[in-house]
């Protein structure tokens, strides 16, 4: 049925996904394999992951080796995507960039998800004043735009890959905390939880064994669809000079390196296309997964 009341539609998204009866399991949900667009996206993500693994074998040049004679050469047979101001091969650097961006995006999201789950989950489960205080705290964190927060954090800790990851984690955990809290609240008073309580299970055990597992599937899905966003945020921070040092092949800083060479358009253009294709693929996949979570968008 398409018709849905306002009350239902404002219920936490995850709750419906958790409550659904188990179906025959597929390797991948239909939403991902059903549409050609999603299949292309899946192939794209797989291809980029393969590139990340195989970069040393695929790259025609050493991404760090500089060559004064080959500075700023146009895309050619020797250098498919041209060279940068230091004569480094743009194509090789892009391939190596995948080795950094993909794991960084995944790690940043994982850390934010874990932190958000622990904080939001315990807030929802404990309830009362502690819950109120924690949730107001997350509201507060959410009032600071991600990049501004990340700017301040990396300014405080100094630029670098680790600190950029920390910045993304700090900026993002509140939204996961909110989500997990909502799900925990909806699960806390379910009959099976009450039954476990009646059987004499300790609070910690009930929380860990019976409530927390219910939050995992929606959180994993939402986390997956945020990996693309995290890669984009990391690239923005690097572009601003808050990521890894410039010699490390990273897409955001490669784009920044091309800022003063606008005539040599290839220096910035190709790393940008790399970010765009990878993030777009993640987002197309995430879009399908979101449909899976949200019954409003699910086809009959």
């Amino acid at each position: 049925m398409r018709a849905i009341t306002a009350a239902e539609s404002t219920a936490p998204q995850g709750a419906t996904a958790v409550a659904r009866p188990a179906r025959r399991r597929r390797l991948l949900p239909k939403q991902l394999t059903g549409s050609p667009l999603a299949l292309v996206a899946l192939g794209m993500v797989a291809a980029w992951i393969a590139v990340a693994f195989l970069a040393p074998a695929l790259a025609p040049y050493d991404p760090l080796s500089q060559s004064i004679s080959a500075r700023l050469t146009e895309p050619s047979a020797a250098h498919w995507l041209g060279t940068d101001p230091l004569g480094r091969d743009v194509f090789s650097r892009i391939l190596y960039g995948a080795r950094l961006s993909i794991p960084v995006g995944m790690i940043a999201v994982t850390l934010a998800v874990v932190l958000g789950t622990v904080i939001g989950g315990s807030a929802g489960f404990v309830g009362g004043t502690a819950d109120e205080a924690i949730m107001r705290g997350t509201d507060l964190m959410l009032a600071f735009p991600t990049v501004i927060l990340a700017l301040v954090i990396t300014a405080a800790l100094g630029p670098g890959i680790r600190n950029a990851v920390i910045a993304i984690m700090v900026a993002w955990w509140p939204s996961y905390a909110r989500l997990v809290r909502g799900i925990v609240l909806s699960l806390r008073d379910r009959e099976y939880v009450m039954a476990a309580r009646a059987l004499g299970g300790s609070r910690l055990r009930i929380f860990l064994r019976h409530v927390l597992p219910g939050t995992i599937s929606p959180v994993v899905i939402l986390g997956t669809l945020d990996v693309g966003h995290a890669i984009l945020t990391f690239a923005s921070l690097s572009f601003l000079g808050l990521g890894p040092p410039p010699e490390i092949p990273e897409w955001g800083s490669m784009i920044a390196a091309g800022r003063n060479y606008l005539d040599q358009w290839w220096i910035s253009t190709f790393p940008g296309l790399a970010i765009l294709t990878l993030v777009l693929a993640f987002n197309v996949l995430g879009d399908g997964l979101r449909d899976l979570l949200d019954p409003r968008y699910r086809s009959r």
């Binding site: 107001r136 509201d139 501004i148 790393p271 940008g272 993030v279 777009l280």
Partner: protein, 339 residues
């Protein structure tokens, strides 16, 4: 609950929120490993014990941390956020000069994404799962997946460097004397002082960064409008209107879209933070002298009074925008205040 009481309650809730923002900014900026005396006073003044003592006393630096916070709050309530280390100006003055530029660019981007995103989302919903819907969906996904700073550079290369259609990245042409500073909003100041040339020049400079910045929020608005529209199109009153013989487009525009807009407006408020994040990068690409550029330069030079001030202002703007949105929502949807 009456509408009046609802508004009063929401405004009162704003106070602890704003205090929280100052606490958080204070904590964040105190994690920055910089010596406030050396950075604030400069070498010569820092060598003079009397000046150092006076500075410490003024900002309570000789007091425990919570007292330092209270001193800061006291100064803040009197409109004093300290002096920026890099510009050597009061932070309040800096912010007053930079905030309008950011508001200009974010409002322009928001308007563009609403103007384009609402019809796009409507069309997508009406043509659900047909090619037009797929195209709109792909467009909005590309919008949220494109690195704004890269799009900005590409736009500069194409429209400024190659085609020469856009002016050099800035807020105003360098050879033009800016209009006198009245409100800080360039178009208003220009028009008030009769400088139409400056207003037009500003508009020419605004277009490119605003379009680039709007790409992200366009994606969000389109997707929200589509989802919200699909929900409304399934409602019974829409079917009733159709059954009465109202034409298809009249139902879509007059009955469905009006109601579908309400949740979109809320989302616009929430995505304002994302817009401000985007503004930071876009402003550095287009050298647009807004809060983003200011935040960036103060963060990289460890200018913590400036960072703290920016954090407080940006977060407060976000909170207030959302308050306004919630109140507007309550006006348009009685279910909210009854609930």
């Amino acid at each position: 609950m009456t509408l009046y009481r609802y508004i009063v309650r929401r405004v009162l809730l704003l106070i602890p929120m704003l205090i929280g923002i100052t606490v958080l900014s204070f904590i964040l900026s105190h994690t920055i490993p910089a010596d406030p005396i050396a950075t604030n006073l400069g070498d010569r003044a820092a060598a003079d014990p009397a000046i150092v003592a006076a500075f410490k006393h003024r900002w309570g630096l000789d007091q425990p941390l919570y007292k330092q916070y209270l001193v800061y709050l006291w100064h803040l309530m009197h409109g004093d956020m300290g002096t920026s280390i890099s510009t050597r100006q009061p932070v309040v003055l800096d912010l007053r000069q930079h905030l309008p530029a950011t508001i200009e660019i974010s409002m322009a981007a928001m308007c563009l994404s609403l103007v384009a995103g609402i019809p796009l989302g409507m069309l997508a919903a009406v043509n659900r799962e047909r090619p037009l819907d797929q195209a709109a969906r792909l467009t909005s996904l590309i919008g949220v997946s494109t690195p704004a700073f890269w799009l900005g550079l590409v736009a500069i290369v194409i429209f400024y460097q190659r085609l020469g259609w856009a002016p050099a990245p800035a807020r105003l042409s360098a050879d033009l004397t800016p209009p006198p500073f009245i409100t800080g909003f360039l178009p208003i100041d220009a028009i008030v002082s009769g400088r139409w040339d400056a207003a037009l020049d500003w508009l020419r400079h605004l277009i490119l960064p605003a379009v680039v910045l709007s790409a992200y929020s366009l994606g969000i608005v389109t997707r929200m409008m589509r989802g919200s529209m699909l929900e409304v199109l399934g409602e019974e009153y829409v079917r009733t209107a159709r059954a009465k013989g109202v034409t298809r487009w009249a139902v879509i525009v007059r009955h469905a879209a009006r109601n579908a807009l309400i949740p979109v407006i809320t989302m616009v408020g929430l995505s304002f933070g994302g817009l401000l994040s985007g503004a930071v990068v876009i402003e550095t690409v287009f050298t647009w002298p807004g809060l983003g550029l200011y935040a960036f330069s103060s963060a990289t030079s460890l200018d913590f009074p400036a960072i703290m001030g920016t954090g407080i202002v940006v977060a407060s703007v976000y909170v207030i925008v959302n308050l306004v949105v919630d109140v507007a929502y309550a006006f348009s949807d009685p279910r909210i205040r009854v609930g």
